[in-house]
């Protein structure tokens, strides 16, 4: 590397470090918020669109009938379809919110509702961005739930108005859990490549049955006891291993998340 190149390299590295410093000081907030606003509005649209395509029943329109129809009528039909799918999504969101409200009424949790904006850029993980942040009282390690207290993940990064949620299916997710069986077996729920969840470190001598419910044990920092995680689907027991494993079926469908709640204080 000649002298000029070394100087260029050092100059660019210095500018990068200076930008990182300005970012952490909050000096670039105005510029960053503008970018976030533009990008999130589009990304949110695509996130919802993706969910709506996968969840709604796709009605194949008869092409021959469409051709014979007047253009205006066809347009009206399309508008109606669009309205229907939007309505269907709203009904779904409403039911989800009712469930969450019902759970929160019965427990002394202080929560805040949030909307999922997008997935986060993460090389290995399965993470989501939600539209509440430090300003709303969200803190690192706060649990995120849906429905009637179903844990879906926890907060790993907070910004002023957004937070990043690590889903329980994420490779780095590790949450202390209890199986609701006779011996109340303890273990660690870990994610696997964003595809599934398994519970590890369950003592070999304890009896686990398929269909047993798994809830949080309260041993993980920030996550209260009793939040539903899922049910046992497969039990993997090797005689020479000190622990047994259980493959779980999560109680929430993590592919279709639109509204969630963050438990900001559990009493």
């Amino acid at each position: 590397m000649n002298r000029n190149k070394k100087i260029t390299f050092l100059f660019i590295s210095l500018i990068i470090l200076l930008t990182i410093f300005l970012h952490s000081c909050g000096c670039l907030n105005f510029f960053e918020n503008f970018i976030k606003k533009v990008v999130f509005s589009t990304s949110h649209f695509f996130y919802k669109q993706n969910i709506s395509i996968e969840t709604k029943e796709l009605k194949d329109l008869d092409k021959d009938t469409l051709i014979t129809k007047i253009n205006e009528m066809a347009e009206q039909k399309l508008n109606l379809e669009n309205f229907k799918s939007q309505n269907q999504m709203l009904i779904g969101e409403n039911e989800e919110l009712k469930k969450q409200l019902n759970f929160l009424r019965n427990n002394n949790y202080q929560t805040i509702g949030a909307e999922v904006i997008s997935r986060a850029v993460d090389p290995l993980g399965t993470t989501l961005i939600i539209n509440v942040g430090e300003k709303n009282g969200v803190q690192i390690d706060n649990p995120v739930i849906v429905g009637e207290g179903i844990l879906i993940g926890k907060i790993i990064k907070i910004e002023e108005k957004e937070s990043t949620v690590r889903l329980i299916t994420d490779n780095n997710s590790k949450i202390g859990a209890t199986i609701l069986n006779q011996s109340k077996s303890l273990g660690l729920v870990e994610g696997g490549y964003g595809l599934g969840v398994k519970m590890d470190f369950i003592p070999q001598n304890e009896n686990i049955n398929i269909g047993d419910t798994i809830v949080t044990s309260g041993l993980t920092e920030g996550i209260p006891r009793g939040l539903l995680i899922g049910k046992v689907e497969i039990v993997e027991k090797e005689p020479h291993e000190p622990f047994q494993q259980a493959i779980l079926k999560t109680s929430a469908d993590l592919s279709y998340l639109t509204v969630v709640s963050v438990i900001i204080r559990a009493e």
């Binding site: 970018i35 990304s43 850029v121 290995l124 490549y193």
Partner: protein
Amino acid sequence: MFYKFLKFIFYFLVALFLVTAQLALINYPWFSFLRPNLFVAVISAIMMRNSHGQIVWFSFCLFFMLDLFSANNFGFYFFSGTVSTLLIYWFFKELFSKQTIWSLILMITLFVLSIDTIYLFLIYLLNNFSLVESVNYFDFFVKMLIEIFSSVILGLLIYLSTDLILKKINKKYIIN
């Protein structure tokens, strides 16, 4: 001066579009599984056509914006992406004698390798100070291979399609 300002606005808008596209596409399961590096593909395709040093500043802008939406601490993508672009740019200027598809494939492969190596080095370094969580190296390696493969395909698609379009435009409007 005005021309330079317009050029800056243009680059900024292109960068904004690419970040939006990356974030919009990541919502689709096939994209989040293959994780092609859209930025690497686009920057490499641009470098093949016009190897100007401004590409480094363009990538500076691009990776800065991307890092705003990353799950990691700010700076990981920004530093690894910009420094990698600079290294690949030098590599391209000094070593590549021919601008062929093979050089594009090699460039994208080295680009992804460089980004991921710097990224991993930063993770390793900061993990020693307990500032970030460590990653599973095997998973990261598998992800890197998938990313190289999908980014090469995406880069080729971008390069060949723009090549086709430019040839058609040249033939229709410039040569005739």
